[in-house]
């Protein structure tokens, strides 16, 4: 066991798309690691944790606590505290932006709109997770169709002058629709921008269901996509804060909460 002054903790967020780990020393992030889950949760979880530990120059036994959230959290082989993603993202955003009271999380499986307290606790939340129509999974799907790197989706979208109107909500059919738009010779940036609009409309419809507070932040994989962020801002008519690394927000939250428990 470590002394009180230096308390090392790990936070993991084993999502359906990405597995994320952070190592923290008290409230400071020492290292992090992100990799695709690729359907193998336990493997991905172990890899990111070891990777992050290595980067921090620590070993498993240095850790005082481990917190984990995400679809694949139950695949961890060692003792940990399981926390819901909603709480982790709230706390993680609070870590970056203590003044934020509304968090929009656009994840691979679900989108969530969470009102948080000043301690980063959940005050209210709305989740959409029956239908993939409002989640960021669709970004990956379309990136593949358009043969665009995920990283470039946002910048491309901002160049669009004439966003294509998507007529479907379904993520699967959106893919087909994108394919035919390509065949019709439409520009990639317009297709991507259209997609961002459609997705943003869904997300903002959800956001309407709880009262958006003054300061809002966006997180989760979708926040990496500047095109989507701008589109959501347009729909909710509010500025959104984005942390430097939205992927690991949940993992940070997990680490912070685990320490308390």
């Amino acid at each position: 066991m470590n002394s009180k002054e230096t308390l090392y903790s790990a936070g993991l967020d084993i999502g359906s798309a990405l597995s994320k780990a952070v190592i923290m020393k008290n409230r400071t992030v020492l290292s992090s690691s992100v990799r695709p889950t690729e359907g193998n949760f336990s493997h991905a979880a172990n890899t990111v944790l070891n990777d992050a530990l290595e980067k921090a120059g620590l070993s498993h036994s240095d850790l005082a606590s481990i917190g984990a959230c995400g679809l694949g959290a139950s695949f961890l082989a060692y003792p940990f505290t399981k926390i819901t993603e909603i709480s982790c993202h709230s706390r993680g955003v609070n870590y970056f932006f203590p003044s934020v009271r509304t968090v929009i999380e656009v994840g691979n499986q679900a989108s969530r709109v969470i009102n948080v307290t000043k301690e980063g606790k959940v005050a209210d939340c709305i989740v959409s997770d029956r239908c993939a129509a409002g989640s960021s999974r669709i970004l990956q799907i379309i990136a593949k169709v358009l043969k665009v790197d995920l990283k470039d989706m946002g910048p491309l979208s901002l160049k669009s002058t004439n966003p294509v109107r998507f007529t479907t909500g379904c993520a699967v059919f959106a893919e087909t629709e994108a394919i035919s738009r390509v065949a019709e010779g439409m520009r990639k940036e317009d297709i991507i921008a259209g997609l961002h609009q459609a997705l943003a409309a869904r997300i903002s419809a959800m956001a309407q269901r709880i009262k958006l507070k003054e300061e809002c932040a966006i997180t989760g994989g979708g926040a990496k996509d500047i095109g989507l962020v701008r589109a959501v801002e347009g729909k909710i008519e509010k500025k959104l804060l984005v942390s430097d690394d939205p992927f690991i927000t949940g993992a940070i939250g997990a680490a912070l909460i685990a320490v308390e428990k």
């Binding site: 359906s16 359907g39 193998n40 949760f41 336990s42 493997h43 679809l71 694949g72 695949f75 499986q109 997770d129 029956r130 239908c131 993939a132 129509a133 989640s135 999974r137 007529t167 479907t168 909500g169 379904c170 993520a171 699967v172 059919f173 087909t176 629709e177 394919i179 035919s180 390509v182 065949a183 019709e184 869904r202």
Partner: protein, 288 residues
Amino acid sequence: MFFAGLDIGSTITKIVIKTEDEIWTSVIRPTGAEHRRLAHKLMEEALQKANLTFGQLDYIIATGYGRINVPFADRQVTEISCHMRGINWFFPGVKTIIDIGGQDCKGIKVNNGKLVNFVMNDKCAAGTGRFLEVISEALGVKVEEIGDISLRSTNPAKISSLCTVFAEQEALLRLSEGVSIEDILAGIHRGIATRIYSMVERINIEKEVALTGGGVKNVGLRKALEERIGFPAVVPPEPLITGALGAALFAQEYVGRIDKKELETRKKERRLEAVTFFGEGPTRGQNG
């Protein structure tokens, strides 16, 4: 006389050329985005295969998702009527038809060769051929093979997600838990069969039942559906072409109705041209 039916499906384009009493030729090709405007090329292919010229076709009917913009067709008929007609030709006794296409799924009730009722789902990919394509791609098997693979299952996995996207992820999750691929596929087939069944049950499934559309080329799904329905169903020798066949049958019927002169002038004016504009007609809602 020769009658042509052209079924521009969301996924697959099918052409049937028939004479008064038999199917002369059929062609099946992917509709694929880049092929959409190439319906006339497929027509050429079919004509070549049939050893006919375009002028020899007496009447052409287009059906399916892309039916509206085929300039060389004499008329458009919905795929619902065409499937009904095609099945009726094969199996006159059939009362209920379940058609599983690429992007939709339908239940059709027939009585004495007349369409009496139907239901369809085209809002959500769950329950369509697309669903199976997505799953098979994720699992890295060919969509043509998943049916056979699933038949080897002894203990079908439980896949609870209804959404295609989540079901895909759930399937991967099960795989990483060590569930075998045949059990996953069998579970997937069960899930989709239940979904299709409960939609079609709305119009009251009555014996005989025929299954058609590309989806039932999958024996796993076929079996799962029959289990759910509770009795065996009939399947045409080539389930993909029932729509195109139905269209050709309608063509034959229409020719009987119009006079010779009109037919001749019509034939003269007709040109085998590219599909003018493939407006993706249907606006899809969402399943919230």
